[in-house]
């Protein structure tokens, strides 16, 4: 027998043995040992770092953060199982507190982005006035929200497991309609003390929601810039922070009637707006539209025949820098809206962050290529607005869609913002120096709608959304009723929020007056309204309106 034959025979025998062994009945495995309960006494035997070793320092980090660091409730009893479980619970809430606070700090920094975007898109003669509106809207809005707004928005939210309960926020004022309860506004939380709201979880929730509210307020200053009387700005902003924003936010996020469209009327999981395309951006954009209609266009914006003139901003460098700051802050806006990183499906924050950056990217591309193809140049300010439009649009669906959906939503937003700017400018003849109505209003509504189309039903935030079991699922994934809930949110924004804002702006116009004098507007608002030039050492030269050079 040759060597080759011997090798083949050995291989066949080995294969046969393997098959026979594999088909032989397996020996029954021993039953797993019964789980053993951990008793307090077991914890006594856990090794702790020796005191002498700790005195030498811990360069490797192996002795820091051990059983010795678990807080003991009763020193006489020593460490107990209850102590360990309490520490686990506190660690979860601590992670969520830190997550929510830090992302809230990122959102707060967006105010700086808005400030320089708006100022850069306005003329140098109004730089101080535009910056001051963006600077003080932070304080004015915060005061209104602290005194009144937060209680209206969140006073009846009825608990949040990520933040340890926020149990005192449990009183929603409702009416009965069609046999169902319609929550209209909360009643606990005035001054962050009334109704037992002096509570650590409530404080975290307030900080996060406050910076969101301020984002909505600062949208209006962009549309009304370069002709808005400073006193009127203060009054209108206070009312918006106290009532306009909190009302709609209550309906969407504070256990109000929109959130309960699923539980009460079987419409999907109720109105779903993950981080506020509708609550923040559409509210801001539609209020800006109401303000823009009432205050009227800047002098020179339109010819006597109604033809629009381009009024170029003074610094595209700070405009695009501001867009980057806003894109950075959006990583707080959307992922932070989980209100936690631990438990309840909150690890979805990875997906939310990636969706956010992808939609911003496709939004920037959409606007840039649209302008390039239509006008021959990749317009810088519209590319920036495209990025922001993509971010605005993905804000509502960021927690419910996959990356392909996010990219499509952003791309559509980038083109939509260009079309909307043209419509507002040429057809409606509403003067919007920064394009805020289109970026935030139009694309905020698009973001709300896109949830009802693109939500893929894969998210799982503790097994339910708005009190309805299951995941938010849009029309393209089989649930048409979610789209109806989103459309009801849209009509509430257009039909109620716009109307409410319009009436408020109209009253302020009659009482305070929105518009500065023609003389002040032509000189620039810095001296007449603020008493100081934004750029005192620059020689400001009058440039014919419409000139691009």
């Amino acid at each position: 027998m040759t060597t080759v034959k011997k090798t083949i025979l050995a291989a066949i025998l080995a294969w046969g043995a393997c098959v026979a062994f594999a088909q032989a009945p397996a020996t029954p495995a021993a039953p797993p040992p019964a789980p053993k309960a951990i008793m307090d006494t077991d914890l006594k035997s856990v090794d702790t770092p020796k005191a002498d070793d700790r005195l030498k320092g811990d360069p490797g980090g192996t002795m820091t953060g051990t059983v010795a660091d678990v807080a003991v409730g009763d020193a006489k009893k020593g460490l107990t199982v209850a102590d360990v479980l309490n520490q686990v619970g506190q660690n979860k809430v601590a992670i969520n507190f830190i997550w929510t606070l830090v992302t809230g700090f990122l959102v707060m920094f967006m105010q700086a982005g808005f400030a320089i975007v708006e100022t850069g898109l306005c003329r140098a003669k109004n730089a101080n006035h535009t910056m001051m509106m963006n600077f003080m809207v932070y304080g004015v809005g915060m005061l209104a929200y602290y005194l009144i707004g937060f209680a209206i928005q969140m006073g009846g939210v009825g608990g949040n497991g990520n933040l340890g309960g926020v149990n005192p926020l449990n009183t929603e004022w409702s009416i009965n309609l069609f046999g169902k309860s319609f929550g209209l506004f909360g009643q606990h939380g005035l001054f962050l003390t009334q109704g037992g709201t002096y509570d650590v979880g409530v404080m975290v929730l307030f900080l996060f929601q406050m910076v969101f509210m301020d984002t909505a307020l600062t949208i209006v200053t962009g549309t009304c810039a370069e002709r808005w009387k400073y006193a009127a700005f203060i009054v209108a902003s206070f009312i918006m922070g106290a009532f306009t924003y909190p009302l709609f936010a209550n309906w969407a996020w504070g256990n109000g009637w929109l959130a309960n469209l699923g539980a009460n009327f079987g419409l999907g999981k109720g109105y779903a707006d993950f981080a506020g395309s509708g609550v923040v951006h559409a509210v801001g954009g539609l209020t800006a539209l109401a303000g823009g209609i009432i205050i009227g266009p800047r002098l020179g914006k339109y010819t006597r025949e109604g033809k629009p003139n381009a009024i170029i901003g003074h610094d595209i460098v700070i405009v695009l820098t501001g867009c980057f700051i806003l894109a950075f802050g959006w990583f707080g806006f959307n992922p932070g809206s989980t209100l936690g990183a631990s438990g309840n499906g909150n690890l979805r924050i990875g997906s939310i962050a990636v969706n956010t950056m992808l939609a911003g990217m496709t939004g920037g591309f959409g606007a840039m290529f649209y302008m390039w193809l239509r006008y021959g140049k990749p317009d810088a300010s519209m590319s920036g607005n495209g990025l922001l439009a993509g971010l605005v649009a993905i804000t509502a669906p960021s927690g419910f869609v996959d990356t392909i959906g996010a990219s499509i939503i952003g791309l559509i937003a980038g083109v939509l913002v260009c079309l909307s700017v043209e419509f507002v400018d040429k057809v409606m003849k509403v003067d919007d120096p920064v394009g805020a109505v289109s970026v935030h209003g139009t694309n905020g509504l698009w973001g709300v709608l896109s949830v009802g189309l693109f939500a893929d039903g894969k998210s799982n935030y503790g097994g339910s959304w708005n009190g309805v079991n299951g995941s938010v699922t849009g029309l393209f994934y089989g649930d048409a009723s979610q789209l109806v809930a989103q459309l009801i949110g849209i009509v509430t924004l257009i039909g109620f929020v716009f109307t409410f804002s319009f009436v408020i702006f109209w009253i302020v116009d009659k009482v305070v007056g929105h518009r500065v004098s023609a003389k002040a507007e032509l000189e620039g608002l810095d001296l007449p309204e603020m008493g100081q030039l934004g750029y005192p050492e620059f020689e400001l030269k009058a440039r014919p309106v419409g000139a691009n050079a």
Partner: protein
């Protein structure tokens, strides 16, 4: 004129909310809500804005 626009805009909202009580079918509600959106947009763009454009500063 602007006041009529405000009423029409708000009417669109009311039409949509009424859909919740008038029908339980998804299709029926969707049609009513879309009508409500259209009415509200007519109120804003077609009535309120047009009323303000009649006295626009650039016409003077």
């Amino acid at each position: 004129m602007a006041l009529a626009g405000v009423v029409i805009t708000f009417l669109g909202f009311l039409i949509s909310v009424m859909s919740l009580g008038m029908t339980s079918s998804v299709g029926g509600r969707m049609v009513m809500v879309l009508i409500g959106i259209a009415v509200s947009l007519v109120g804003i763009i077609g009535v309120i804005n047009r009323a303000f454009l009649k006295n626009a500063i650039w016409r003077k």
